[in-house]
Structure formats: C-alpha cells, structure tokens
C-alpha cells in the first residue's frame, strides 16, 4: 500500500464516517434523554431526502431545500413524540422500539403511495457537482461539503448543549430526570424538543445523502443498522461516543474494503463485538441506561 493510496483510503473513510456521525448523534440524543430506541430513524432519514426533493421542485433551490427539509422532518418528529411515543413513557424499553419499528414500515409504504415506487433523483447544486484533485486522489466536492456541514452542525449542537439554559436542562435531565422534575421543570416539553432535534438531524442526513446514494423508499433500511452499531460502539446516549465511533466505523469500512472487500461488512460487527467485550457499555457509555 503506497502512502498516497493509504491517504486516499483514510480520507474517504473519514468522510464516510461523517454521515454515520450525523445519524448516530440523533439516535444517541434521543436515547440518552428519553431511553427510546428510535427504529424509525432510518425512515426519517429517508423522509428528509423526499422532503428535500419536494422542496427542490417547489423552490428550485437546493439551499432552501437543505435548510427546510430537516425542519419539516423535525416537525414531523415533534408530532410523533407528542401523539405516539409519549403514550409509552414509563413502559418497558421494547414498547417504543416496536412502535417506531412499525412506524418505519408505514412510512416506507406511505412514501411509495405519494411519490411512487420508482426512486427519485436529487442532484447536488451545480457549484458542488465537480470533483477536485486533492493531490493524492480526485475527490467529489459534494462529499467535502457534507463533511463541512456535519462539522458545523456538531459545533452548533455542542454550543446549544453546553452554553444555553435549555441545553443545561437537557444534560441534567439525561443524568437525573427525577431531580430535574423536583426542581419544577417541565421535562415533557424538553423531551419533545430533543425528539424534534434528533429527528431533524436524521432528516438533514437524508437530504445530504440523497445526491450521493439516490433517493428511494428503502434508503434508510441498512443505514439505520449501521447507525445503531455506531451508537452501541460509542456508548448509548453519549454524543462524544457517537462522533468517535462514527469516524472509527467509517475508517474500518474504508480500510477493510481496501484490503479485503469481502470482509468489510462483517468487520463492522467484529469491531462492535470487540468493543463490547472490553467495555460492555461502549467506548463512552454509562452502565445501566438500558435497564
């Protein structure tokens, strides 16, 4: 393996990891605070891409679509929390899991009823359509853009959680919900907000992924599994864990594909098993959240 080939492969893996991070962060955020395993995350990702297609057709601008589609998915997420998931708080962790799993199936078929069974095309904007020579490889500009957006979103999320009052309550609520309630804070509203943010992030990942992977009803089916792996490796509920594990999994996929493509898929699960053997609650996870 030459140095430039290795650099190309590492860089590709980093960018690939970015998409995992974006999806895993939303999942982890929702799980950390609500202990809801949101199986509909993949379908919300898909919904983000379809809303993006719809908005692009309506406004003619990718940028407007990119800004509004995650908001639409987030609002949809608010409705899901308010009218479906909320009824199941306090029950076993399986109940919301089954609910969201069912919801994901409904969404896939509903999207086909509205937009048809044939997938759609979502093109990146002209200015991002080219490929650029990085010296060690030719790389699509659009993927560089995706990694930049991911970094910005992570920064914004960090500032929100660390520097605002709502963020303070969210952090406190994930650590000790009972105590936060005792302080007279309406946690129900906080949960609503967090669910909205988490699903909005899934929508953002969806519209970003559309121009790379195509837009079709089943686009969320495999990526939601990979995202769960990332969340489990990073530690359920840990945001730092989601970032580190997302990049780690991206690199594992990229390097294994280079050396032995047949093993790329299985290696993801091998890494998960190894991490869980050494640290049962994931790299940055706290024990006990799943009980």
């Amino acid at each position: 393996m030459s140095a430039s080939a290795l650099a190309a492969q590492l860089f590709t893996g980093l960018v690939l990891g970015g998409l995992f991070v974006l999806l895993a962060i939303g999942l982890s955020l929702i799980f950390g605070l609500l202990t809801v395993v949101n199986f509909a995350h993949g379908s919300l990702y898909m919904l983000g891409a379809y809303f993006g297609f719809f908005l692009l057709g309506l406004t003619g601008s990718f940028w407007v679509a990119l800004a509004l589609a995650p908001l639409m998915v987030g609002v949809f997420g608010l409705l899901v929390e308010r009218f479906l998931v909320r009824r199941l708080y306090g029950r076993s962790i399986d109940d919301p899991l089954l609910l969201t799993f069912g919801l994901s199936l409904v969404l896939v078929e509903a999207v086909k009823l509205v937009w048809g069974k044939v997938g759609l095309t979502l093109d990146p904007p002209r200015e991002l359509g080219a490929a650029v020579n990085l010296g060690f490889m030719t790389f699509p500009v659009y993927r560089l853009f995706v990694i930049a957006v991911t970094a910005l979103v992570l920064l914004a999320l960090w500032l929100f959680l660390e520097r605002t009052n709502v963020g303070l309550v969210i952090r406190a609520g994930s650590r000790d919900p009972l105590m936060v309630r005792a302080l007279g804070i309406d946690l129900g509203r906080i949960w609503l907000v967090v669910f909205g943010i988490g699903t909005g992030l899934a929508g953002l990942a969806g519209i970003l992924a559309g121009p790379m992977r195509g837009v079709y009803a089943e686009m969320g089916v495999t990526i939601v599994i990979e995202s769960f792996v990332v969340v489990v490796v990073g530690g359920m509920g840990s945001l730092v864990g989601a970032i580190v594990a997302g990049v780690l999994i991206g690199e594992v996929v990229s390097l294994t594909t280079f050396v032995a493509p047949k093993l790329a898929e299985i290696m993801v699960f091998v890494v998960m098993a190894l991490v869980l053997l050494v640290r049962p609650s994931g790299l940055f996870g706290e024990a006990g959240l799943l009980e």
């Binding site: 490889m137 495999t222 990229s254 280079f258 047949k262 790329a264």
Partner: protein
C-alpha cells in the same frame, strides 16, 4: 359474522365438500394462475411493470374468449421479496385459491422457494426471474419453465460484446449474493477468453449503496471498463458515486442489465454512455411489428411503456394460455408436454423457443447505451439500441453442464 351468515356459509361449505367434482364441472370456473411477486420492497417498481404486463395478457386472452371456453384469472400476491413469504403465498394460492398454474417471482432466491412449492404440488410454474439454477439440477423439474434470461446468457452476451468493443482492462464491483456472484464469474471467464484482464473483482454487501471506499483504488488502477453488478437502487447509487469521483471521464461504465425504471430514477445525465443489456426495450416497436402491437396495447391500457420485466410477465401468461389451448387440458404435465412439443412462440418480440431438455426459453437480447440528456425521447426514451444478440442456445450452459442426463 352473525348466526344466519354462519349457517349459510357452513351449508355452502358442506355442499362444496360433498359434491366438489359436480360443482367444478357445472360452473364454468375461471382458469386460475397464481402470481407471487414482490409488490412491496425495493423491487416494487419492477414488480409493478410485471403486474401490468400480466394483467394485459390476461385481458387479451379473455377478450378473445378465454381458454377452453373459460375465463383466465390471475391472482397476484405480494411475496415481499422474502423466500419464506413467497413459499407461503404460493402454498395458499395452490391449496386455498386452487390455482392451476403459477407464474412469477422476480428475485432469484424467492423464485426458488416458489418453485419448491409448485414442484411439491405438481403445479406448472413459469419463472420470470433471472436465475441460472431454476433450469438446472437439482432445482429444475419437468413442470418448471424459465421464461426470463439468466445471468449466464446475459453475462456471456454482454461480456463478449463489451470486451471486443469497449476495452480489455476491466474492474468488477458486484453485489455479494447469488446474482452478483454468477455475473462476476461469467464476466471474468468471458473477458479472459477474449484476451482481456480483470484487474480486480470487489464484492459489496447487497442493499448497502455506499461505494466510496472502493473508488480510490479504482481511480488508481485506471481500468478501461468498469462493470457494476448492482441491482435496482444500488446501481443508481454506484453510478452516482463513481461519476462523482470523476470516473466517467476515462472509463467505460457497464452494467449487465438496463432496467428502465432505474434508468428513469437515476436520470438521463447519470446513465448517458452507460452500457447494459436487456431482453426488451420499448423502442423495438420501431422495428418489430409484434413489439409495436404489444407496446401500443400496453400504452393504451396503462399510459406508460412496458419494460423487460413487464414483457416477461406478459409472455408468461400468454404461454400458459397457449399451452392449455394446445394441450386442451388443465393438467400441468399435459400442458408442459404440449409446450415442449410445440416449443416455438412469439408474443411480443422476435421468435422464442423452449429447449426441451431443460424447459429454458431462448430469445434475442439487445445491448443498449444511455442517451445523453439532449437526445432523450419523451419520458422513457433513455436508451438507444446498439446491437442485437440473436437467440442462441450456446450462450447458456449445455443441458449436460446443467445436470440433465
């Protein structure tokens, strides 16, 4: 159900049980054909096309008076692209709905599960799925027919044409399951036979449309031809990513099959100059009279054009009707014998025939290339026909190679 309705149903059921033969003879029941097909799931678009083709064939047969004076009825069931569901639906079709014949199955592995059930029940099955196994031992049977092309035929035809016309240095990316592996093997073999080289074959997990990790290596290797064996939406994702990494500039892109709904999904720009093969493309209406009447009838009925799988479904239903008419019987073995004894047919394009030893259909196929966006004809005129590969039994494995004595 209230008591009266229950009594009524029970009485009717008792009567039916007591006099089944009498009832069947007196009422002119329709001839029923079961049609398991993945209406939901990632192959939904292909299934929709196929359902239309089969529906049109049924309506045409009925419009000319049905078969043996009885109407034809096709019962579509969703196999959800899962072998277990396909088997269950087929069993229900045979045991509860009392279908006399089965046509259908799109994914190779589901089609095998359907075939297990039809074999067990002694029901004639015409498979319309791309599969090598279905007409070979141990899966084949005297009442199992295979209407579609298979990976061996498509791969040999496409590979031989492409290695002579597009370039000698190849790279193959294939989906790591039956159809992908078969194509990889056939293409590699033919490329070498024609003096070409396969720099590397890299598998990817089916249904996981992320190819970026493959692409830096392909960039560095500089092949002349890049073959992607990726079904459905994966094929669109592969092209998007390969092209975004700048590969279209100096590499010829090839797929084993062009399936029009996915060309539409990816768009003209994506598929322009991408090569593939197909058993049918609607623009054949310009040159083949039978294709013209098929496409016109299809367009009139569904306001869109048929594609390869729609025409397989159409031909499959017409073949059952023809077999029944020739055999003058609804008995599966009699119909199978009649088809083998009268092997030549042509329902929608050029002449086809059944090979007697393995019940495999032989038919023309065509090499197509994506048109540039500026040359697209209407909504669906995304391809242009580059070459016709005439039907030829030598493109498939011989019956001896397939385990037939």
């Amino acid at each position: 159900m209230d008591r009266r309705a229950f009594l009524g149903t029970a009485t009717a059921a008792a009567a039916a049980l007591a006099f089944p033969a009498v009832l069947r003879a007196q009422t002119r029941d329709p001839v029923k054909i079961g049609f398991p097909i993945p209406l939901t799931g990632p192959f939904g678009a292909i299934a929709e096309d196929m359902q239309r083709g089969a529906t049109l064939a049924m309506e045409q047969v009925n419009a000319r008076g049905g078969v043996l004076g009885r109407k034809l009825e096709v019962l579509f069931r969703d196999d959800q692209l899962k072998p277990a569901v396909g088997a269950q639906r087929t069993k229900e079709l045979i045991e509860n709905d009392r279908v006399q014949f089965v046509v259908g199955g799109i994914a190779a592995h589901v089609q095998m599960a359907i075939n297990e059930q039809t074999k067990k029940a002694g029901v004639l099955f015409i498979s319309v799925s791309q599969s090598d196994e279905i007409s070979a031992k141990p899966d084949t049977s005297p009442i199992t027919f295979h209407e579609a092309l298979n990976p061996t035929i498509t791969g040999r035809a496409m590979a031989a044409w492409a290695v002579q016309n597009l370039g000698k240095r190849w790279w193959i990316v294939y989906a790591d399951y039956a159809w992908g592996k078969q194509n990889n093997a056939v293409f590699s073999d033919i490329i070498k036979k024609h003096g070409g080289t396969v720099l590397e074959s890299t598998p990817y997990p089916l249904g996981n449309p992320e190819f970026s990790a493959h692409l830096p290596k392909i960039q560095a290797a500089r092949p002349e031809v890049l073959l992607s064996v990726a079904p459905g939406a994966d094929s669109v994702a592969f092209l998007k990513q390969a092209i975004s990494f700048g590969l279209k500039k100096d590499v010829k892109l090839v797929q084993p099959l062009h399936i029009l709904p996915y060309n539409r999904q990816g768009g003209a720009e994506l598929f322009s100059d991408v090569y593939g093969a197909t058993s049918f493309y609607w623009e054949l209406e310009d040159t083949i009279p039978q294709a013209k009447s098929f496409v016109e009838a299809f367009r009139k009925r569904f306001n869109t054009v048929p594609d390869a799988y729609g025409s397989y479904g159409y031909s499959g239903i017409h073949e059952v009707a023809r077999g029944v008419a020739v055999a003058k019987s609804l008995d599966s073995e009699a119909v199978a014998k009649a088809l083998r004894a009268n092997p030549t047919y042509s329902h929608y394009k050029s002449k086809q025939w059944w090979r007697a030893c393995d019940n495999k259909a032989f038919q023309d196929l065509w090499i197509t290339r994506g048109r540039p966006a500026s040359a697209v004809r209407g909504d669906w005129g995304l391809l242009e026909i580059i070459a016709r590969i005439p039907a030829n039994e030598e493109l498939d494995r011989t019956c001896a190679e397939k385990g037939h004595a």
